[in-house]
């Protein structure tokens, strides 16, 4: 998803929270998203500002995909 889509979903969840009771034992709703494309520091900041708690980057389906995704994610959130 994009930061804009994440923000729209957070708004949709907030609207649902106005209609559906949330049991207290569940605590705060944790928002996780898979960013579209390569995660950058700018994107990570935008996701955080949109209310995202966990970024779940997609490991490209190649042997070096996980290493690239992990490295990019660590760089992206370093300043947060």
């Amino acid at each position: 998803v994009t930061p804009q889509q994440a923000a729209a979903s957070v708004a949709g969840l907030a609207a649902a929270a106005g209609r559906v009771p949330r049991p207290g034992e569940l605590g705060d709703l944790e928002i996780s998203v898979t960013p579209r494309g390569r995660l950058t520091p700018e994107l990570a900041t935008e996701f955080a500002q949109a209310g995202v708690h966990r970024l779940v980057p997609l490991a490209r389906p190649a042997p070096d995909g996980p290493a690239q995704a992990i490295e990019a994610a660590l760089v992206a959130i370093a300043g947060l």
């Binding site: 998803v1 889509q5 994440a6 979903s9 949709g12 969840l13 609207a15 649902a16 929270a17 209609r19 559906v20 009771p21 949330r22 049991p23 569940l26 605590g27 709703l29 944790e30 928002i31 996780s32 998203v33 898979t34 990570a44 996701f47 955080a48 995202v52 708690h53 966990r54 970024l55 779940v56 980057p57 997609l58 490991a59 490209r60 389906p61 190649a62 042997p63 995909g65 996980p66 290493a67 995704a69 992990i70 994610a73 660590l74 959130i77 947060l80």
Partner: protein, 199 residues
């Protein structure tokens, strides 16, 4: 901000060594979770709604995460997501409890209602009522995990006079609802610990 890694059960990572290596690398890097998605089958030929080609490999997420659990020690294991109405809720409750126990309480169960009708057809699942099925199955699994005497009587699941051990190590299992629809938002707010957006 927390970090997870998806999809550790697909593509090149659907090989035992690659999957284990990815999970270990994510854990070593401080990621809090690895995630595995689900497509039991894929439409052939590929349809616009399908994100994958029919030949793309996708391991069963619960089995893949069990493999990841055996090669890691602390990282959480998340389904992202299991297509709940395509599953038998009693069997899935057992599988989830099994993974939670074997992993030392590291399961995060992400579920969704699904969207690919050919996949439902192949499994023999109810596509038209998948939202209602999803809600019932969540209740049915919850009684199996948390109630002293599990019982459920619904339109799509009906059982009593049975029990299932071991219970999950985590009480409760962290539940995550995926999807961008209004029912998914309602389901997440009303009964889940988290929400997951993909695609």
């Amino acid at each position: 901000v927390l970090l997870g890694l998806v999809h550790v059960n697909m593509g090149a990572l659907s090989q035992p060594g690659a999957l284990a290596q990815a999970a270990r690398a994510a854990e070593a890097a401080g990621f809090d979770s690895v995630w595995a998605g689900e497509h039991v089958v894929l439409p052939d030929p590929q349809v616009p709604a399908s994100p994958m080609r029919p030949q793309d490999p996708a391991l069963d997420p619960l089995l893949a995460l069990t493999w990841a659990a055996a090669h890691t020690t602390t990282i959480a294991l998340a389904t992202g997501i299991v297509i709940l109405p395509q599953r038998n809720p009693v069997v899935l409750a057992k599988q989830a409890a099994t993974l939670d126990v074997l992993s030392g309480g590291r399961l995060m169960l992400g579920i969704g209602a699904g969207y690919l009708e050919p996949e439902f057809g192949a499994v023999g699942a109810n596509f038209a009522e998948r939202g209602a099925v999803t809600d019932e199955y969540l209740d049915a699994m919850a009684t199996l995990w948390y109630d002293e005497h599990p019982a459920y009587h619904g339109r799509f699941a009906d059982f009593a006079g049975i029990d299932a051990y071991p219970r999950p190590l985590q009480q409760p299992i962290p539940l995550i609802v995926g999807g961008h629809s209004a029912p998914a938002y309602r389901r997440a707010v009303g009964r889940a610990h988290g929400w997951y957006g993909f695609g």
